[in-house]
């Protein structure tokens, strides 16, 4: 049972660091599947998977969260992403197995990266909760060379 104010989160690894999604947004953890690619111009999209008859876009957020040296991704976390009052499955490549944790979501601070909607304090570890839609807003401004998001100031 979770304490008042606590919610469930799926904690996922990207290399040496761990991040989180709200558990109610996560559909499944899938084994490596055949990544299919075709020409497109949307940065960070690695391709698509065919999953249970659906075509699922693969959003490789590791390049932004941990940089270009992220280790090979082993699994796909399938996240139900809401946008414009619709929702769509999105596959997030992760580097290891995930776990479920109950914790209070602590509001983001101004010094946190723009992709973080807040963070969890798990023992001596601070885990950023990732807001996928933040990557949409920054997609056009993603630096091709570094894979880094521009600052809010640079966007405005």
């Amino acid at each position: 049972m979770s304490a008042i104010g606590e919610k469930s989160f799926v904690i996922f690894p990207l290399g040496a660091r761990r991040f989180a999604f709200p558990a109610d947004a996560v559909t499944e953890l899938a084994k490596p599947d055949l990544l299919q690619v075709f020409p497109h111009r949307t940065k960070m999209l690695a391709g698509v998977l065919v999953r249970r008859g659906r075509i699922v876009p693969v959003l490789d957020i590791a390049q932004v969260l941990v940089g270009p040296d992220a280790p090979p991704r082993k699994f796909y976390l399938i996240v139900n992403r809401k946008r414009d009052q619709r929702s769509e499955w999105t596959a997030i490549p992760v580097t290891g197995e995930c776990e479920l944790a109950n914790s209070e979501l602590i509001a983001r601070t101004s010094t946190m990266p723009q992709y973080a909607s807040g963070f969890l304090s798990l023992g001596d570890e601070v885990v950023e909760v990732v807001a996928l839609n933040a990557f949409d807003a920054f997609n056009d401004g993603l630096d091709n060379a570094t894979g880094k998001l521009p600052s809010r100031e640079a966007r405005s």
Partner: protein, 169 residues
């Protein structure tokens, strides 16, 4: 973790004949009714817009067919792919455009056209009508109207008229 059904638009289930073609190793499909003829590259005429403001056009050639001049779009350039070795021309219906592709494969029927996922936000939203799953592979079904916009077509036709006028003087 429970499985939830997303409220993405349902795929279109209308059956449709498509022609499969290849550009730079990628497979694409185009509605069969959008293509009037598949032919070789014979008869291509070098074409230049000169000093027109449409410098980034994807058209280097024209081809004349039944008295009509078709503007030949390099599909590799259209899809921002490296230069390829086109061997076939897809002559489009209801427009004076042709597409230069590496090869054509076969005609087949698709039963489901999946909407392009919303995560795709770039030029591909205009390039493709949707995605088809063919033999386990995902194949984009191209939007035949995206190869040349009306504005591009008007500029290209004006350039041809200009060059004809200049030749007549």
């Amino acid at each position: 973790m429970r499985s939830r059904q997303p409220s993405a638009p349902a795929p279109s289930a209308a059956r449709e004949d498509v022609i499969l073609f290849t550009v730079c190793g990628f497979r694409f499909a185009i509605a069969a009714h959008a293509v009037s003829e598949i032919r070789g590259p014979e008869g291509l005429q070098r074409f230049s817009l000169g000093t027109s403001y449409l410098r980034s056009t994807q058209v280097d050639f024209t081809v004349e067919r039944n008295g009509t001049i078709y503007f030949v779009v390099d599909a590799a350039r259209h899809f921002r792919l490296p230069p390829s070795k086109p061997t076939r021309l897809l002559m489009l219906q209801h427009t004076s455009a042709a597409i230069q592709v590496d090869s054509t494969d076969r005609m087949m029927e698709i039963s489901v056209l999946h909407a392009l996922p919303q995560a795709f936000t770039g030029d591909e939203r205009n390039w493709y009508r949707g995605l088809a799953v063919i033999g386990g592979g995902v194949v984009p079904v191209v939007n035949q109207n995206a190869f040349l916009s009306k504005a591009e077509m008007a500029v290209l036709k004006a350039a041809v008229q200009r060059s004809r006028g200049a030749a007549a003087v």
